[in-house]
């Protein structure tokens, strides 16, 4: 890996690049799925290549190849420089990077059991056992289970002297029970939608989830939803379970704080942000109890956004995003940090693969725990709807007006959880919603969830992000609009 990267940056320099970095990535996937008692997907894949990013003539160029001969790498580096010179035809200013010292280091994620060394038949057995439990419940029309594993070994080198080797292991697993009856399709997922829980851990994550032990419960809930009352329409207090709140953080905090979006670089596809530069350290984002960080460090937890260094060689950091309700920080890279006068990048450049250009991505964007015990929060609530497990999600291109629906809900009346509700949904304006937060549960109820499917960029890249959250309460929220006639 080192030789390939060095060939790349040496060639780029010779061709006239004033800056170059190279990422060699060796990515391995395993996907296993089952459906109604049969194996669905069973596949493995591997991909090895190099991505070379350069500045030449004051403009950016990037080229990637899987031809890892000296000749192939050098041709790719030369193409990156030629592309940069073409970019210079339409430049308005020279690319400038915030300074970053060279780093020479090795980092490895915290997995215990390598999922690729676990026999695939053992993984299938777990999914088929959960599948059987779900289908034992009368009314279940579709039982599905899945596991996905990814091993990423990467080497980064730059003309500034950085040389960084990293190894990450990502695991995920989940089950879904779907029921069709009358004129409705309902479903319940465990432990979350989007393929369940995903973390930077090994097979020990799958073992900790107890998929089989939760299969019957979610199957019964899926069936019960057909006879549950419809979530009402109006304004209500809501309590969001932590997985749904994780996605709420992702959409209404994580995306709008991306500085490339704020500066207009994503305007054509992902959109802009309501968090214009004048809002930094002046906007009340939420109530006083709302504290959000972007934390890629391992001490935050083994999330999908955890690493030693980002994909332009900047060490993992913790950036305060919302501090006691005040908006205090963006996600930045070396270029955008320089553009707004920050001294250093926040370290959020990430790439899906060797073939993609790194772009600003969420790391672990987490709501810090509050002080409430979950039982106390319920007991303290007179009239609310408790919502769990995302079913649909949508937010405007400035990340301001959103609507979410969840798989299941329950009434909370006079301090107790009551009857089940189907088709729960809520909507609102980002800052009004976070401003209405009046209770956040404590660390013991806090989970670092993984969102494996975040799309951004052109060409679009899919990235995994982490979101820590504990159940929280919000007042005066609009509910039921998704199903209003």
């Amino acid at each position: 890996m080192r030789d390939w990267a060095n060939w790349a940056i040496d060639t780029a320099k010779v061709r006239g690049a004033t800056f170059a970095d190279a990422r060699v990535m060796d990515i391995r996937h395993r996907d296993v799925s089952t459906k109604n008692g049969d194996v669905g997907n069973l596949s493995e894949s591997e991909s090895l290549g190099i991505g070379i990013r350069v500045i030449a003539g004051g403009a950016w160029g990037f080229a990637a190849t899987d031809r890892l001969t000296r000749e192939g790498v050098q041709a790719c580096a030369a193409e990156a420089v030629a592309i940069a010179k073409a970019s210079a035809l339409a430049k308005t200013h020279d690319a400038v990077l915030a300074p970053e010292g060279p780093h020479v280091d090795t980092w490895q994620g915290p997995f215990i059991k390598d999922p690729f060394r676990i026999p695939v038949e053992r993984q299938i057995d777990v999914l088929l056992a959960a599948d059987k439990e779900m289908r034992r419940v009368k009314g279940v029309t579709l039982a599905e289970g899945s596991m996905s594993f990814r091993r990423i070994e990467q080497y980064y080198a730059s003309t500034e002297g950085s040389a960084i080797h990293q190894l990450k292991m990502l695991s995920g697993a989940g089950i879904v029970a779907t029921t069709f009856a009358g004129s409705e399709i309902q479903k319940r997922s465990y432990p979350n939608s989007f393929g369940g829980q995903h973390m930077q851990r090994g097979y020990e994550l799958v073992e900790s989830l107890n998929l089989v032990g939760n299969a019957q419960r979610i199957a019964e809930e899926s069936v019960a939803l057909h006879s549950a009352a419809q979530c009402p329409e109006g304004t209500s207090t809501i309590i969001l379970e932590s997985a749904q709140l994780g996605l709420q953080i992702h959409e209404s905090v994580g995306h709008p704080i991306e500085l490339d979006r704020v500066l207009g670089m994503e305007a054509n596809f992902a959109g802009l942000s309501f968090l214009t530069l004048d809002k930094l350290r002046t906007l009340r984002y939420g109530s006083d109890i709302v504290n959000v960080v972007a934390d890629a460090r391992l001490e935050h937890g083994p999330g999908l956004g955890t690493f030693g260094y980002d994909d332009e060689g900047v060490p993992a950091q913790c950036t305060p995003i919302i501090t006691d309700g005040l908006f205090t920080g963006y996600l930045s890279n070396r270029e955008t940090a320089a553009a707004i006068g920050e001294k250093r990048s926040g370290g959020t450049m990430r790439t899906e693969s060797w073939s993609n250009l790194p772009i600003i991505r969420m790391t672990n964007i987490s709501l810090l725990p509050g002080s409430w015990k979950y039982d106390d929060l319920i007991a303290d609530t007179d009239d609310a709807i408790l919502m769990s497990t995302n079913r649909s999600w949508s937010i405007d291109d400035h990340r301001y007006q959103f609507q979410f629906s969840t798989e299941i809900g329950w009434e909370v009346k006079n301090g107790k959880i009551g009857r089940m509700l189907k088709n729960p949904s809520y909507s609102g304006i980002t800052t009004e919603f976070w401003g209405s937060c009046d209770a956040i549960c404590s660390r013991e109820h806090w989970t670092l969830w993984g969102t494996p499917n975040c799309g951004k960029g052109q060409p679009m890249q899919t990235m995994g992000t982490g979101h820590g959250a504990s159940p929280s309460r919000f007042r005066n929220v609009k509910i039921g609009a998704a199903f209003a006639k």
Partner: protein
Amino acid sequence: MAADHRLGPGALRELAERIIKFSDADETEVDIGAVTDALTRFANNTIHQNVAEQNLTVSVRTVVDGRTARATTNKTDDESLRRVVRAAADLARFQPKNPDLLPMLKQQKTQKVARFFPATATAMPAERARAVARVCKATATAKQTAAGIFSTAMVETAFANSRGYFAHYEQTRAEFSVTIMEKDSSGWAKANSPNIADIDPDALGASASRKATASRAPKEIPPGRYTVILEPSAVLDLVGFLFYDFAGTAVLDQRSMFNKRIGTKLFGDNITICDDVYHPLQLGTPFDGEGVPREKVLLVDRGVPRNLVYSRATAKKMKKQPTGHGFSLPNEYGEAPMNLVFTGGKASVDEMVRSTERGILVTRLWYIREVDPYEKILTGMTRDGTFLVENGKISGGIRNFRFNQSMIEMLSNVEMLGEAVRAAGEESFEMVVPAMKVRGFHFSEVTKF
């Protein structure tokens, strides 16, 4: 000119045969994909990303004693190819027998389609940069701000198996997309084609610019039910959510909106949909992931869902014939129509506007998600050019709306149809769809811009 990176059917067949010889499985299938992709991205009236990628992927499926699995690599030395063949066989061995697995196909006759344009394959970064520079300059002169992409790509695909089947396909693709912004308004335009000569960046830029100008100082009007005129991109991104419902497997799994509705009148008389990869405005391989030649299928006939598409295994289970829409095996989703073609009408968008007393003209939709899978309620936002129509004229821009709309209801309320065109959006792959004038479209909330 840039190099034409095509490997050609001869070299790909040789590679596939070499891989098949490495295998001692009962049956072996090889998919090879060679991609050359380049994209110039601009924002704030300047190029800020400019990328190129080359990759060759080899995917091997083996069958061992009635079991199948797949392994994929982009390493093409003999040792790596032997390893990927072995990995596919090892994965296959350690699983229960698959009762639905069918023998691999012998050679099939596939229809030739011409979708490779050398001018697209050999487009240079400087060519894209010059076009982007022209659009940026015009935008800056108009005191507006442009962001977008100009991309070119070439894909070569080969499919082969140990029964002697071999098929080859190649296509190119060029795409230009632009958003032009003012202080409180924006406009958008996008087009793609296999032939770069069909792409006119200056015209697309001018269209987006006009929309940004026309939607200045947007007014807020209350949410509710309105007559809407949906431009083709907006229609595409809505009806694109229907495509998997037409899969035989989706109906078998009881997760399709067509569960118990095939043969029942569901949409208006003016809605006819087929899947047709051979349509002159479509792209895609003339064979599916199992090597079955694709067929044209009438899916909805004058409002009545008539047919589904079937992979080989699904067809056997449902006592139908395979239609050539199967995904590569193994998979849990079966098949889907990827080349939807709506039957259009004759009305222009201008005629739709002229015939509307009060309504809303929508350029583009955004962040569409399914709220209810059986009633097919979708939610999402309008974006980059939303206008109020009053007394047959566009009266100005309005703030963007959130919608929650059943597709069954929408496709029952279509009053006028435009000519079906190859539309490009952001939520769905490209299809051939018309602009539509729809009554009673449900906007549930309004945003702040």
